[in-house]
Amino acid sequence: MGAQKKRAAAAAAAARVSEDPDDLARQPLQAILLADSFTTKFRPITLERPKVLLPLVNVPMINYTLAWLEAAGVAEVFVFCCAHSKQVIDYLENSEWFSQPNFTVKTIESHNIISAGDALRLIYEQNVIHGDFVLISGDTVSNMSLTQALQEHKERKKKDNNAVMTMIIKKSKPSPITRQSRLGTDELFMAIDPNTKQLLYYEDKADHSKGTICLDKMLLAENPSISLHNDKQDCYIDICSPEVLSLFTDNFDYQHLRRHFVKGLLLDDIMGYKIFTHEIHSSYAARIDNYRSYDIVSKDIIQRWTYPYVPDVKFCGNRATKLERRGICFTAFNSEIEQSRSAQVGSFTVIGYGTKIGSNSKISDSVIGEGCTIGSNVLIEGSYIWDNVIIEDGCELRHVIVCDGVIMKAGAVLKPGVVLSFKVVIGERFVVPAYSKVSLLQQPTVHDSDEELEYADNSSGTVEFSSIQGTADQSNGEMTSESSEAHKPKLGTGGVGYIWSICEGGQEEEWRHSVAPIPEDKLTELSEAMDDDQELVTQDRTALSTSGELISDSNASEGDDNEDSKDDSVYFEKEVEATFLRAVEENVKVDHVILEVNSLRLSYNMTSADCAGAVFYSMMKLAIKTPHSSASELQQNTANIITTWQKLLKSYLLEIDEEIEIILKFEEMCLESAKEFSPLFARILHILYDKDILQEDAILRWADEKEGADESDKVFVRQSEKFIQWLREASEEED
């Protein structure tokens, strides 16, 4: 059998045309498919069925991923199952995937895994990955060809052993509206080296209120050119070298693939591992992350962007449907549906096997599963109805998801964004409010509303999960009847199920991730926000233009826009001062303050001399503001503050120029804003010298510079003449 398999594989490779005969044939390509997204965005549905088995246009999602992996030439797939692992394994065992030649599917099961990082660590321990592999989650739909990306990856790997990962990205329109309305995700910023395609920066949680992003200055210093993109979409398909798994093992705190692993690698310059990107153009790739992307990807499939993984072409696990022309557009039909003559089925609708549609019902832009019974005068619009659903006469469904076995009694209405989980019964004429989620299971009490929690280390998530799994199994039996009695009034007469309360702050956010279209007011809000952004860009010439290229030696531009930079420097000073004061109040660590000031500096495009000046200014300001009765007390206060924050100040004093800048700044303060300091000038200068903040060279150079200045300017030089004299002598002695 092994020989046969090998022969078949060779034949397959040969048949795959001469594009890459050696590379692929030599080592069979492996893939890791994470059949668990480690999120809770699809709750309550995912309490009863794993996400990868949810039907996407009537085919369980995992089939799209597996079909693509097979077509892309992957020879061996490890399916990692965690939540509801039994269901996933059962499904795969009964599917055709286990009996494919040249394509093996193996499952890895574990119950106490709570993140992708843990999963990869476990796979590493099993020692099954021998070469490059594709890392993908089971909810990704794609039709791209891997050949080119794989080849690029291998070539890079040959040249540079540190190129461990190639990330697939795709272009999308940069507007936040599109991003929100298409995938329900936040804006994603990436910095990519345009020549090598190396990924330098990745930020998917940018702070929108500020309208700025922060880049490490080293990034600009080290790379001759960087293009910063906000018009790229992460496809969540990665080609990884085997080192990636060991990296996960080495860094046991890596949990999330993007948030920890990718960012970790980008920040960590000790090991020098590099991530590269591969952009796809004509082919499709998207991941289903939430209800909105479920809606979008479904519609993309119906609109055939994912060809050949479309309803009327037969790929594994679906029954081919037939397209019928409805007006200009097409509707996928199975040949054996019973449809009343007066029923209107609109365009872009898929109707499953054995479904009955009553008279005068209207269906448009929807997906209806197998074996459903739809009564008469039903209105279904933009909805996803899974298998064996019974919808009685006169119901109205707009932009909702209805899971298997739901019964909707006559006249029930589902408002946009509603999700009905398995086997829920909605009572007669009951109106389910918008965005509500209804399940037979009660809402878990320890509800982790915050999605960050999904990746958290605490194990409460899994404990809770498994306990619910238990109830889920029982609920199919007698549990349903019991619970229905307790909560009858909630879903109308005869209704069964609980309406989940929307988690705190949820109402606000619910619209982002639901299947319903974005409400009008939110849309205008978003577009206003976008306009603001654009204004900001036009006002602020230093703000980064969208995806424009940034040349690293930005110092050159300093001379051109003096006025702007003057304005900026005032703002900048204020910002730094605010940051500093906050740091003092909240006892923030010095390192963090440095980070914050760095980010401010980048966004205002300032030099480190400016930073030093601003930091010093704010320190002095603080000293003055601290209550004091005499000059000596003020001096004491100043000394204390300088001691506490000397590290902050020093981090900007890279060269003598910056130190001189501080002295000049101090001088300026003494003359203008903080005249109280003027008698103390020499003493404080001494303190600064003592604390190693100022070197003698700087002070001497400052004195030399002032030599030829006006008398009025020389006040402080003269004041500190003694000190300078002493310094001169000291240095001469040393010589």
């Binding site: 048949a15 509206i177 082919s283 809606d295 060809y307 050949p308 072409v313 832009d365």
Partner: protein, 427 residues
Amino acid sequence: MSLSQLMLGPNVVLCNAASQTYPSCNTFTHALSFFNKIEGSQATARQTAELLRSVISQQRVPYTNQAGALIDAVKAIGEQLIAANPVELAVGNIVRRVLHIIREEDLSLTTAAIGGLNLSAVSDDENDDDRDGDSTLSAAAVAAAARSTLRPPSLQTLLEDTPVSAAVPQTSSSGAADKSSRSRKLKHDVIEAVNELIQDIVTCHEQIAEQAVEHIHQNEVILTLGSSRTVLEFLFAAKEKKRSFRVFVAEGAPRYQGHLLAKELVARGLQTTLITDSAVFAMISRVNMVIVGAHAVMANGGVIAPVGMNLVALAAQKHAVPFVVLAGSHKLCPLYPHNPEVLLNELRSPSELLDFGEFSDCMDFGSGSGSPLLHVVNPAFDYVPPKLVSLFITDAGGHNPSYMYRLIADYYSADDLVVQRRATAGN
């Protein structure tokens, strides 16, 4: 249902591994799909024929009614194959042709047996030796002989046929030894004939190309649309015979395979002009002949061809330019275009038309009514009615569209046309 694992996308090849054990456990088939790797009816037809050949060779035939058993086996697989890729009509054509071959071989054996019984046992043996020795002669020649002499499609032969088929059970029940030898022989003959068919499919390009000089004359201007291997070989053949002519290539949006064709033509030293599809009407008045390939030729002489072909045909008709369609005989489909079983068209991915990233803001489902204002439809095929076609050139020679039904009667048995419909209804 393990057989449904067959996935035949449009660009798909059936891979036929040696490990097929169809009759035992129904897990015989698998088809590998390769993305954009191999396409074309010829490759698909060939793979289908090879697959069916291995099915036949592994099928255990009972003593009685061997032909029936083979037909059932082929039908069962054929249904799956056709259902797996309804767009590629060549699959169905080959299945039907193999069925036809089985019927023909069975018929010729029966007639031979009847002849043998009528004469003597010795002459039967002689007959056997004859066939075994000269296999190419046997299956093909007998089939051809049977086709031409026994079954001309006339009322008379229909009447004559009845006693022959009635004689089948009679002869098969005559003697056990005779039966076993005959069963082996039937299978052997059928496989020989299928080999013959595969050979035909493989060489169809050459056979069509041989006729090139008869159609392309000195200093003519030929127009073609998109890319077709048959057309390519046809033009090369004319070029090799020292004909000098020019070729206009319409690029064939949205896949632009015309660009590739132009490249290859230039590589072989042909004077080539590349034009857009929309320029066809402007250029057609200078053209002497339109030569195009086809996806399938229907029983009425209509053609299913890459999208844009109807435009070219209409332009050609307007200027009375001959519109010539090249098609290997595996593309002859015994069905009519109005037949509900025929999936005339295939909607391909919109990404061939426009870049998803560029237009992602037009694909907004999340705002407004929930359905985007932009719809992209990308059909792969056109239907060209028979009245627009001047001539078909197949491996069997040039034919008028109205003659197609006759060719089809040669290649297919009327009993098999409905096979598919019954199959889907029973499914």
